[in-house]
Every structure is written in structure tokens, then in C-alpha cells.
């Protein structure tokens, strides 16, 4: 090795160590910062003397369901003359939501409405809110410790999953294999839906449940699951996607695999592209909740709790099954999401 090369090699090595440690440190931070730009879609509406501000913390921002909850809540708050704001993280992440809850509690709001990311992990931060005298209203999910929240407003996920399962069974003539695409393990809301679906399918002797694939809320991954299984498993006749991103991904995946219509697709929740997919029949149906109603109910419950009135512990909102045939009827239309608060 020449002197020149040796010099290079030493330099290279020094740099290597330096870069190496930077990389390691960076990768640690990245997971923390990756999706944490929190969005405030605050809408201050009037000022109120006695009643404090209501803050809604969604599971993540940019999700049509949560955005429509926020719209419904914002409208109800405006009507009641109460301040309202939304604070959330861009990713569905327990750690990020914990940080946001802590920050919101520190700002001393009158009440918190929250769509929890985890039924166990969120107990501690929300208990702190309760201890600070801030009533907590759950939207679309309860904690395992039911003493923390004043009330939980939630559609029955098991019933919704069964609704989807029975509808899919009917679509495929009650025979063949079906699979589920879900976000991740650990969410009680999703688990109720997928459990309800599996329960419904088990009633049909000629149907086989292939199990669940997890997309981590990644549309591209859901598309890949749908295209892969539909091309490689000739027995597959139907797919149940438990959330909007997965439904949108599955529509794309089936289209790319040329299986649209051959493999039936049933989703949960809606969005503009999902409605468009119902219109052109690339989607066979979807379970629709009533997020606007849940948001409004959340605000009235929060106001009642702040005034010291009694609030019903479990409140539910109805669901419907939207199909290409019925989605334009008034009965179904009122359930369709509206993330931009246009109504």
C-alpha cells in the first residue's frame, strides 16, 4: 500500500466512524419525527364565559372519518357558542398521541374528545386529564379501564363486521375463500370489525376464512395484498378491507390484477374515491358509520359533562351498508363522510 493510499484509508475510516454514528443517531430520531407534524385545524367559534374550550384529538389527521367527526363537532360547537379545536398527529401512533394529550392537558381545556390509538396505552395520559378535572369523551373507542372516560360514543364494530361478512357471503353465493386486510394489531375498533366479519363467515359451511394481512395503513401495501392473493389463490372470491386506506388500496390492487368484479370487495368506512368506486362498481359495498353525528354528539356530551350534568356512559351511532344501488338514496347519503366540512 502506498503512502497516498494509506492516508486515504485512514481518512476514510475516520469519516466512516463519524458518519456511522451520525447515521445511528439519526435513525433513532427518525422514527420519532417521521410522521409527527401535528396539524391544528382549529376553528374558534365565539367566546364563552364559563364553559371551556373543547379539543378533539383524532387517531390521525387527514383521515376522512376523523375529519368528518371534527366537522360535525365543529358545527355543533359553533351552534352552542363553545370554542373548539382539533389537534392530532399525521400518523396513527401511540407515542405521538400521548405527547399531544399531554400538551393539550397542559393547555387546560374544558373538555377533551379523543379517538384513541390504543385502549391500554392511552389509559395513563388520559387519567392525567381526568385528574386535572377535564372530562374525557371517547369517540369510536373505549379504554380498557372504563373509569377514565365520561362517555364513549361508538358504532358497534362487531355488528358492522357481521354486516360486511353477511353481505360478502351473499355476493359470492355463500361459497369460496375470503380474506381480510386490516391496518395493524392492537386496535380494538379494528379487532371488533375483523372479529365480526370472521364470525359471520364461520356461519357458512362452504366458506373459508384465509386470515388477516396487515398493511400498517399503507395504501400501496394493501394494493399489493389484493393483487397478490387474487392472482395466486384461485379459490379467493372475496376481500374485506377494514379501513378506508385499505379499501382504496384493494380497489387499485384488484384493478391492476384484472380481478375487479371477479373477486368481490367489501369495505368499511367511506371517502370520495370509495364513493366513486361504488358508482363505477369497482367496490361492491361498504359499511358506513355516522361520524358527523358522533362528532356532534361528542360536543353536546362534553358540554353536559362540563356543566356537571349526567352523561350516558355508552352511546352508539347507527351504521348502514352502502352499495352501488343504494348509496344515492337520502337514507344512506346522510351517513357519507364530508372531510372538508362543506355541509
Amino acid at each position: 500500500m502506498t503512502h497516498h493510499q494509506e492516508n486515504e484509508s485512514v481518512k476514510h475510516m475516520n469519516r466512516r466512524i463519524k458518519i456511522g454514528s451520525t447515521v445511528a443517531a439519526g435513525l433513532l430520531i427518525i422514527s420519532a419525527v417521521a410522521g409527527c407534524s401535528s396539524t391544528s385545524t382549529g376553528t374558534a367559534a365565539g367566546t364563552s364565559g364559563k364553559i371551556g374550550k373543547i379539543v378533539y384529538i383524532p387517531g390521525l389527521t387527514g383521515n376522512p372519518f376523523y375529519s368528518t367527526v371534527s366537522c360535525g363537532a365543529s358545527g355543533a360547537a359553533k351552534k352552542a357558542g363553545v370554542d373548539f379545536a382539533t389537534q392530532g398527529s399525521a400518523t396513527f401512533d401511540v407515542a405521538k398521541q400521548t405527547e399531544i394529550v399531554n400538551a393539550v392537558v397542559a393547555s387546560k381545556p374544558g373538555a377533551i374528545m379523543i379517538s384513541i390509538t390504543d385502549p391500554k396505552a392511552m389509559i395513563i395520559p388520559l387519567t392525567k386529564a381526568k385528574e386535572a378535572g377535564i372530562p374525557v369523551i371517547g369517540i369510536d373507542g373505549d379504554l380498557e379501564d372504563e373509569s377514565v372516560m365520561v362517555s364513549n360514543i361508538q358504532a358497534d364494530g362487531i355488528a358492522g363486521g357481521e354486516l360486511a361478512g353477511d353481505a360478502l357471503a351473499k355476493l359470492v353465493g355463500e361459497k369460496g375463500s375470503v380474506m381480510t386486510i386490516d391496518n395493524a394489531t392492537g386496535s380494538l375498533v379494528s379487532k371488533a370489525r375483523t372479529d365480526g366479519f370472521a364470525k359471520a363467515i364461520s356461519k357458512y359451511p362452504n366458506m373459508k376464512f384465509l386470515g388477516i394481512q396487515y398493511s400498517a395503513n399503507d395504501t400501496a401495501k394493501a394494493a399489493s395484498f389484493a393483487s397478490t392473493v387474487s392472482t395466486t389463490n384461485p379459490d379467493l372470491v372475496g376481500i374485506f378491507s377494514a379501513e378506508t386506506n385499505n379499501t382504496e388500496g384493494a380497489i387499485t390492487g384488484l384493478r391492476e390484477a384484472g380481478k375487479t368484479g371477479k373477486v368481490k370487495l367489501v369495505g368499511y368506512d367511506t371517502s370520495d374515491p370509495i364513493i366513486a368506486a361504488l358508482a363505477n362498481k369497482t367496490l361492491d359495498g361498504t359499511v358506513v358509520q355516522n361520524p358527523r353525528g358522533e362528532g356532534a354528539l361528542g360536543v353536546t356530551s362534553a358540554i353536559a359533562a362540563m356543566k356537571g350534568e349526567k352523561v350516558k356512559r355508552q352511546q352508539s351511532a347507527a351504521q348502514v351498508f352502502a352499495t352501488p344501488e343504494n348509496y344515492t338514496t337520502d337514507n344512506v347519503k346522510q351517513y357519507i363522510y364530508d372531510a372538508n366540512c362543506s355541509a
Binding site: 476514510h12 376522512p64 395503513n217 399503507d218 400501496a220
Partner: protein, 358 residues
């Protein structure tokens, strides 16, 4: 020029595309071999070579275990379509990493590009191929803007690439959310949806776009002065500066390329899903970096090829597909990719150590 050639053989031995007559440590070992066997030896000891064996083994194993399902044209088409968007970003990442840089921002820049493109198309209000081309241009310009921002912060403000692009990872997503109020943009022109369902020679247009990007990227990196300068900057920035290379300008252009390709990927994603999928890209940078590193690009710069990156991107894609086909619990896929990544870098380190001893 001779100055640059000398530097190149001194520090980028593993990447020199042709068998050079100047003695590098590996060549010294093979001094008695014919030039041809030396070339073969160098080829077979390269990371892309190992990784293509890994890829072939994976394909073989899945084909044997699931003979009726995995090895089919339809399934290969699935894998290729899935990998297209990541591939475009991976080409940009390879350029940046060969120059010893890093770009964590691409997932957010993708979202930003897609949001800009879709907003431009909505604003125009028309629905023809011209609308889509304007959307594409705006999307790529949006990506370019973040690339130039990254380049500026890194070369002029001297913020380390890791931190600079970590910052823009958050900032680009934040700006995209400010533009859209946090809601996915969902009204895209019908022309775009028609493009997503159309195909050429049986393959989606997304694949052909990715293929063109890969070919141009490979040619530029391997055959042009710009490509050579990229390797030299990555091997030894100081030496590159002394050899008269404008290092700042070079890095600026590399980050601009990475940003622009992420903007292009944003338009591809928009075409595929007809929505901006704001929440779905926080892991893109890590997925792409995993592919690039699997393909033999060194984290320390100076080493890497586009061919290697193509192989590296396909390893996780094939693994995921195979596991789904076999209906294996999906969590195993992450375990497998993690271990293969660590194994690949370990082999790379062993080779470096052997070479440093020689």
C-alpha cells in the same frame, strides 16, 4: 485528467467499471490472473452479485413451495407494479448515497409533489392529456424545490445531510397538509385514472416510467463525467475539491435529482390510487434506503450501482409477495428483511476488512 484517474483507482476500486491496470489491493492479489478472470473475480465478489443470488434463491424457494401460485406472469406483474414507485425514488437515493449523502425526506416530498400536482390539475379544471402533463410537471417541480432546499441547507448552511433531510421530512409533509388542510386531495382528472388502467406490452405505464428512469440513471452514473464526479465526491470530498470538482454544485444537483424523482413518484402514486395518500409514506425513505443498501451501495459513499439498487428493491418486494402467497403470518416478513439487511452489510464489512489487510 490523469489526476482524477489516479484518485479514482485509489479510492473507488470496488466500483471501477472496467478492469483497470493500476494496482488496487484486489488486483494485487490477482496479479497472476488473466485480465478476464480478474474481471470475473471482481464481478463475483461484488454485493450486487451476492444479492442477485439471494434474489434468485428466494424466487426458487417460493416457486418450489408454491408451484401453482407464485411463479406466474400475472404474479410477476404484481411484484413489478408494486416496486415501480419505490424504484424511481431508489434511483435518486443511489446517486445521493454514492456521493456519501443521505435523503430521508423523499416520502414527504412524494406526498408534497402529489399534492401540488393534483392541486394544479384541479385548478386547471380541464380533463385531457395536457392537464396530466401539467400536473406531472408541477409535481416534479415541487419535488425539485425540496431537493434544492435540501442541497442549499447541506452545502451552504453546512447542516449534516441526515439532519437537513430529517428536517425537510417533517416540513414537506407539514406544508402538504397546510395546502390540503390535512385532508387527502381526491378529485383527480379521469384521464389520470384511464392512464392507471391502461398498459403497454401487458405492463402498467408506471413500470415503463420506472424502467426509463432506471436506464437513464444507470447510464448517467456509469458512463458520464457527472457520474464519475459523483463517485469521487463520495469517496473523498477533499480530494475531489483539490482535483477541481465543484463539490457544492455536484451535491446540489444530486439532491435536486433525488427531490425531482420523489416528485415524479408522487405523480405515479397519485395515478395509481387517485388520491394523495398523505398518511401512507412515513416509511418510504427507510424502505428505499434498505433496498439501496441491499443492492451494495455503501453508507460511506463511493460505492454503488443502479443495477444493484434494482436487485435490492426487488428482494423485499419478492419476500412480501411470497409470504402473502404462502399465507405466512406477515410479521415474519419484517424479521426476514431485517436479518437479510444486516447480513448484507456484514458481508460488505468482511470484504472491506480483508481488503484493508491486503
Amino acid at each position: 485528467m490523469s489526476n482524477i484517474d489516479e484518485l479514482k483507482t485509489a479510492s473507488t476500486d470496488a466500483t471501477a467499471p472496467t478492469a483497470s491496470s493500476t494496482a488496487t489491493p484486489l488486483d494485487t492479489v490477482g496479479a497472476t490472473m488473466s485480465p478476464r478472470s480478474r474481471t470475473i473475480r471482481r464481478m463475483t465478489s461484488s454485493s450486487p452479485f451476492y444479492m442477485s443470488i439471494v434474489l434468485l434463491v428466494l424466487i426458487a424457494v417460493f416457486s418450489i413451495v408454491a408451484p401453482g401460485a407464485f411463479p406466474s406472469i400475472a404474479n410477476a406483474r404484481n411484484i413489478i407494479t408494486d416496486a415501480s414507485t419505490l424504484m424511481v425514488m431508489a434511483v435518486g437515493m443511489t446517486f445521493v448515497m454514492v456521493a456519501a449523502g443521505f435523503d430521508l425526506s423523499i416520502g414527504s416530498v412524494l406526498v408534497f409533489g402529489g399534492v401540488c400536482g393534483s392541486m394544479a390539475m384541479t385548478w386547471m379544471g380541464t380533463d385531457n392529456i395536457g392537464t396530466v402533463l401539467v400536473g406531472l410537471l408541477v409535481s416534479m417541480l415541487g419535488g425539485l424545490a425540496w431537493g434544492l432546499f435540501n442541497g442549499f441547507v447541506i452545502t451552504r448552511l453546512r447542516v449534516p445531510a441526515l439532519i437537513a433531510t430529517l428536517g425537510s421530512l417533517g416540513a414537506a409533509l407539514g406544508v402538504a397538509q397546510i395546502f390540503t388542510n390535512g385532508n387527502d386531495v381526491r378529485d383527480v382528472p379521469l384521464t389520470l385514472i384511464h392512464i392507471s388502467t391502461a398498459s403497454f406490452l401487458g405492463l402498467s405505464y408506471l413500470f415503463w416510467v420506472a424502467l426509463v428512469v432506471v436506464i437513464i440513471g444507470a447510464l448517467v452514473l456509469r458512463t458520464t463525467k457527472f457520474g464519475r464526479h459523483t463517485y469521487i465526491v463520495g469517496s473523498n470530498e477533499e480530494a475531489a475539491r483539490r482535483a477541481g470538482i465543484n463539490v457544492r454544485r455536484q451535491l446540489m444537483m444530486l439532491y435536486a435529482i433525488s427531490g425531482t424523482l420523489a416528485g415524479l413518484a408522487g405523480m405515479m402514486s397519485l395515478t395509481r390510487f387517485a388520491t394523495t395518500t398523505i398518511g401512507g409514506h412515513s416509511q418510504d425513505a427507510l424502505t428505499v434506503i434498505t433496498g439501496v443498501v441491499l443492492g451494495g451501495t455503501s453508507l460511506y459513499g463511493g460505492i454503488g450501482t443502479i443495477l444493484g439498487t434494482v436487485i435490492g428493491i426487488f428482494i423485499p418486494a419478492v419476500l412480501q409477495n411470497g409470504f402473502v402467497v404462502m399465507n405466512i403470518q406477515p410479521f415474519w416478513q419484517q424479521v426476514a428483511i431485517g436479518l437479510i439487511l444486516i447480513g448484507a452489510v456484514f458481508i460488505d464489512q468482511l470484504k472491506r476488512r480483508a481488503r484493508d489487510r491486503a
